[in-house]
Structures are given as structure tokens and as C-alpha cells.
Amino acid sequence: MTAEPASRTTSRFRPTGSTGAPHSGGRRPPGASPRPRSFLRRLRDQFGIYLFLLPAVAYLCVFTVYALIRGVMLSVTATRLVNPDGGRYVGAENFQYLIASDPFWHSVVTTLLYTGFTVIAVVLLGTAAAVALDARFFGRSVVRAIATIPWAIPTIAASLIFAWIYNDQQGILGQGTRALGLGQPGWLTDPDWGLFSVTVATVWKAFPLAMLVMLAALQSVPHELKEAAWIDGATRWQTFRAVTLPHLAPTIRVLTLLMTIWSIRRFEIIYVMTGGGPIDATNTLVVSIYNTAFADQHLGRAAAIGVLALGLSLTVTMIYFVVERRRERKGES
């Protein structure tokens, strides 16, 4: 193949390096710099793109941006739930109250503990389950299907089932520990166990999603690389560490970020099982927002908690992106 002469690029196809703007008449002299397109022309060219984006942007503006702005505005007012437009501007009073409040900081710590334990357990369990179910064995499809059931069960139903499992009197868990002579922990009635019990239920409910994501990621690991490692005498563990894990790392990082954000804002499973109790042991920021807004009717203060919780989520997200950016600069996967 030989390169085509420049004179043959005028009819139908855009020559390399041109702007793609149609000629308005006559040919531009060879070597002339491309004429800049006007703003209106660019707008006209891209109008369709913006039009297609408009529904999504409108949705985001109404249900996210407006809600966010309204939440921030509410957070500096004293507003009751039943009179949302009748709030009184109080400046930073709500934030000052929260920062000086022990229960608020207890909620922050509870949220961090719940999020930390949940994310670590979900990602580890999900990855382990994915690796196990990636291997070939008889009945693999059935086991995969069974393993996804917790994710498919509605959260409220799962919460009620766990509440029954944990029930002090009839719960199967208590019966088991009693039969083993281990006594009867108050799974949902003892503050030392409350957070643990809710975390276990959350992990059970959330790990199948992590497993499915990791399973998909495992499919992308080139088999030739594994084979090469085996030929070089690597053990299964060494192959996993040196070949598989580096391929999974980006997925694990994204999964960790998503699980962290979801855990910070998780509500139903905690509220249904404990309502934030016993003695505030599971009173995460989101449960606290609900109780402040709907039980205490302090919409302004609840919004202030929401703003601070948003700050927590944003901090986690920013840390993720900073770490990601550094990795990119270093050329790591």
C-alpha cells in the first residue's frame, strides 16, 4: 500500500489533520491553517448531543442538585418537619450544637466502625467467594445462583429474618449458643453485640454483589499469564498474588469506594433491626438523621447532620481519587 496523494483527499473523506468543517466554497490553499469554527456553529453541531443529555441533566438537577442545595439551606435554619417553608435562619447554630454534642460524635464513630467492618468483610468475602466460584467444579452454576440469593432478597425481609435469628428467646442463634454451653449473648439487645450483629447481617446481604463484580473481573485475567506462571513453577497462591490480584486491584478499589459510600448511607437494615439501639449502639449518622427529622421533627438539624455526613462521603471519595491519581502517575495498575 502506498500513501494516497494529497490531491485525492478532497472529494469524500476528511484529510488527516483537518477540522472536519465543510468547505464553504473553493478549496483552501495547501498549508493554510484551519479556520476556527464559530461558537454558534459549534453549538449547532453539538446541539443534538446536548439535547440527548438534557433529560439526564434535568433529572440530576431536580433530584440531586436541587435537593442538595435545599438540604444545605435547611441546615442553617430552625425548621420543623411539618412546616418546611417556615424555617428561621440560625446561621451555624445547628452545626455548633452538633459539634458540641457527644451523641453526634458517637454516631460518627459508629458510622465509621460499621462502614469499616462492613467494607472489609464484604470485599474480602466477595473476593474469596468469587475466586472459589471461578474454579471449575460440578454444580458450579447452581452454587453461584444460591450464593446470589442474599442479594436478591428484599432488604426489609432480610432484616426481619435476621431479627428473628437473633431473637433472645426463640432465635436459632441463641438456641445454638445455649446448646453449646456458650451462654446467650443479647445479639440485638446488648450494646456490646448490637453493632456486630447488624454488621454480620449487612455483610450477608451485600457480599453477593461484591462476589459478582469480582467474578466478572476474574474473567478478564488472561489465562495465558496464569499458564506461564505455572510453567515457571509458581504455586497457586503465588499465581494468585502475582498474576490474578494485580488484575483485580482496580476493581477492588472501585468496589471498596462504592461499598464505603453505600455503607455510610445504609439505613433500612439498621433501622429495622435495632432502630439505632440498643442504647444508641447502632445509631449511625443516617439513622440519626431519620430520628432527628421524623421523630424529633427538627428538619434543620437533621439537614445539618446530612451535610456533615455528605462531607464524610466526599472525603472518602477524594481520598480514593487522590490515591488513584498517584497510581496513574506512577504507572501502577
Binding site: L51, L54, A58, N167, Q169, T189, A295
Partner: protein, 434 residues
Amino acid sequence: MHTTRRTWITALAAAVTGGLVLSACSGGDADAEGGDSSGPTTLTIANWQFNDTEKGRTLWAAIEDYSGPDENITLENVGSAFGNYADRLNTMLGAGEGPDVMIMLEAQAHELADAGLLEPLDDIAEEMGDSLNGTNESGVILDQQYGFNWERPTYNTMIYNQDVLDAVGAEVPTTYDEFIDVSETIRDSQDAFDLPQEVFGFAGRHQTNELNGWILEMANWIYGHGGELSDGSELTIASDANVAAVQAHLDLFASGVPPLGDDASTFRAKFGQGQIGMSFENSGVATTMATDPDNVIDGTNLGAAPLPLPNPGGHSQLLITVNADSENVEAAKDFIRWFLTDEAQEAIRLGHGASALATDVPLDPEFAEANPWAEQFIESASDSRSTLVAGFELDSVMIWREFLTAVEELRINGGDIRESLEQVQETVEAELGR
């Protein structure tokens, strides 16, 4: 060809987007039914009870044929499940929407009346005069009548399983000491029962994850021991009577008598199956338990007696109210007028079982004969008290939540009751900016 297709798709997207924007911008008055009081009008009425299986059907059947003075009214049930009922109503009314007529707990009525979202009904109270009983005082908020008694399921009553008491040879307790004796006798006499499961002397709520229900039950302990959470102007959370009440509550729950960890639905199911001796219960639940054919408890072995405490206890109060922002305020008020007539009160009586109503309409004779325990609830409703904290009505739930969280902490971790309640008082006062 490509250009033409792209133009069409772009135009379609523009049309869809425009439609979405227009529909979002259009107001909520598309459904303006019932705006004209002379034409056919649909009156929306919200009550979570209509969604209950048996009771809901009976109550709805009692009112659904109402057609108003001009025979132009149709009722529409827009209630939701109890779990999110109050939240939904608050958010709807806060946005200027909501049903025309609403049944709600009195705490919510105080919040909504304070926000100007309920229609004053003083003219109806005046018209009805002496036909209304004292329970309607609960509907007087800020010196105006904002609601009438839809149902008062009083908690000021102890229900008991006569078979359980008979099995251990116990009499119905009338004092607190007798109550403790009987409870402990049941706990210690498991051989007397022909059941594979343990039989408990008493059961009650004791966890903050059932906050609203526990408030109603704890009020029995506080009021029953002569306590109050306020004197009308100042909080009295750490008073001697309250300390004594909390001490009694904690002692009982530490004695092994009640099933720890059971929520209300669990211990009520146990009561229905003959596994609970006594409970401080409300009339609605007693009616449901006694009439459930799957239960071993029925009208013959269910008993009801005054609380074995020195003073009367609390009650739950449901009020019927009118939405001030309704387009059908007059039609809604006509419905309230009808609701307070003897005809309507008799019609809803069967659905409400043993609860006190807005007028002194007697129990349904057939029901009363099958359920001799029911009359006690009517008597108990006459002196039971609201769980709203006097002088702090709008912050009642918050005050009770702090109080009950402290009680829960004392039950689990122990500690000095007075110190703990003093701490609650400080916390609540700080919260209220006092």
C-alpha cells in the same frame, strides 16, 4: 439519509424532553375532583387501621356508605401501613397536600395544629354539645378543638390469662406487691403448665427500637407510681416518683419474669398462645387477640383488671381531624358531624371493640356477651392520661426518647437511677435551649 435520521431522533428527543419539563412544571391541580361541593365529590380519608385485616374491614364497612347531606359524597381510603403513616402524612401536609380527613395520634395532631395545618372544629364541638364525652378533650389543642376521639385504646388496664392464674392457684392481683408475687409464682411453677415452651408471668416492651410503643407502656409505670415528666412548665424527669417507677420497672425486668428481647408482636403472639400470664395492654390489641380464632385466648379465658398500681396509667389517643388545606373542608366537616352521630358511633363500635369512643355508645351486646373483659377497658379509659409531656407537647417524643434510652442503659449496664435521670434532664434542657 444519516442527516435525516439524526434530525428525526433529535426532534424526538426534544419532544420527549419538552414533555418531561412541561409535565414537571405543571402543578398538582390536574386532579381537581371534588372542588365543587355541589357536584359529585370524592372525600379522601386516611387511617392506617383500614389496612388491618379484620378490624380494618369492619371499620371501613361502617363508614364507606356515607354520602353526605346532599348524597354526593364518595369516600376514598388513602391510608398506608402504620410504619410510615405519620411520616407520609407529615410530609404531604407540610407540602400543602394530603387527604381531606385524617385519623392520627394526638402527638401528631399537636405538631400539625401548631403548624396551622389542621382545620379548627370548634363549631362542630359547640353543635354536638353534651353528646360528646370527656375523651374529646384530647382534641383541644392551643385552646381550639382540632379533632375528636376516633378511638382511645387505653393502656390503663392489665389483661391476664385466667387459665395461667388458675394453674398456679393465683388470684388477680390488685396491688403492685401482689402483682410481683403472682408474676414470680408463674415463673417458678413451670411444671403447672402443659406447654413445651416457658410460660412467663408478665411481658412488656422494654427496648428503644419500639420507641413509640414503649412510651405508651412506660407511661403506665411512671403515671402509675405517681410520676410525671413535667409539672406543666418545668421538666421533672428526676423526681422521686419517677426514680421509684424506673426502679420498679428495672427490678421486674431483672427478675427473670418477662421474656427479655421480645418485641410487642412476639410477646403478644405468645399471650395469644397461652404463654404469658399478665400484660399491660391496650383495648385494641386485647380485642384482636380475643377474636383471633388461631389463639387459645378468647373471650372466656381473657381477663381484664385495673392496673395493679396506685394511680391510673396512660393511653393511646387517636383523633379524627380535617386538613386545613383541603379543597373539601366543608364536606370533610359534614363527615365529622355525621361521624359524631349515634348512628355512626354505633356503626364503628363493632370495629373498635373495647376502646372508648367519642360518645358513650355502649359495647355491641353480642360482643360484650362474648367478651366480658371488654367493659373494664371502657372504665379504664375514663381516667387514663395522655403520654404527651405537659407544656412540652411538641417535644414529647424527643423527651421520652432520651428518658427511655437512659432506662435501657440502666437495664443493661446498671447505674444510679437518679444520677442517670438528672443527666437526661440536663440533656433535654440543653436540647430545648433552656
